[in-house]
Subunit: 171 residues, 2 copies
């Protein structure tokens, strides 16, 4: 599997990790008898995105990153989620889109010229786009989602973040 | 440049981004007349690492990740930093180590069997280790460093996080 394609699989894995965190958050809110929608508006600084927009942005940076690398049009999502369940549906839709991308869709992705709205008159090579923009931006929103949940007392640990790895028996 | 090697260059770039954030944090502390060492003990949840350990962990996940992929021994750092200046020296040392890794050092890194202390009797392929562990773990600590600084009022934005990208004129 190419590093380009395994990165796409990793985007899909990580958005599903977020879903598991939100499931824990829903259970926590139920135990503590508070409206889980409160969490969606929680943020770490007044001029940072709240949880809902961190999750939307994680989904978007994954789907747009992959679509740009594959030269495809990503599905649109209108950012209207107001509950944890709606946010989890957004994640599901994003993960299912990522699952449609096959290794063959990424043939030539490393040398593709990627243009971005804010790079007027310039392009970035697909390989640089993945490493310098898509991955750091994706993990920015994933980690902020995690941090907001931890800041609000949701019981998550590094294993919830990293998830299962592809290991093999032997040395 | 292989995706493996450009990932190593990206580790070096991002730890230098952190250094620039800490420089802004030092200036902020001076303007507000507080001891910048207070920031080093700031955290987002009582059972999360404080800033100092987030930065140490970002440096370690970069240096250990790259060393494991290159089959080398990483330099040791004793985790004794107590000031912003000491933390910035740690970052400088880490970045300079990352700069010593050449593309040739990573020949065969994708298929290398990486063993980790907590993977008893198992190994993970270098390519999977990079994508599933080294990158997400590195960005976890980078983004938490950023989030703690933002939570404390340091004036940072997405451009400070992403930094310069390798763009080219044309389409």
């Amino acid at each position: 599997m190419s590093l380009m394609y395994s990165s796409v699989r990793q985007f899909a894995k990580m958005v599903r990790q977020i879903d598991a965190w939100l499931e824990k958050a829903a259970a926590h809110a139920k135990t503590k008898s508070f409206d889980s929608a409160v969490l969606l508006q929680s943020r770490l600084a007044p001029d940072q995105y709240p949880l809902v927009r961190q999750v939307q942005s994680a989904c978007d940076s994954a789907k747009l990153g992959v679509a740009r690398l594959a030269g495809k049009e990503a599905p649109k999502h209108p950012d209207t989620e107001q509950t944890l369940d709606e946010l989890r549906a957004r994640i599901k839709s994003c993960a299912e889109y990522l699952d449609t991308i096959k290794e063959a869709d990424l043939a030539g992705a490393e040398t593709r010229h990627v243009t971005l709205p804010w790079l007027e008159g310039k392009y970035i090579l697909g390989s640089d786009y993945l490493v310098e923009m898509a991955l750091p931006n994706f993990y920015f929103h994933v980690a902020h989602t995690y941090a907001i949940l931890r800041h609000n007392g949701i019981d998550l640990g590094k294993r919830d973040y990293i998830g299962m790895m592809t290991t093999h028996d032997g040395k």
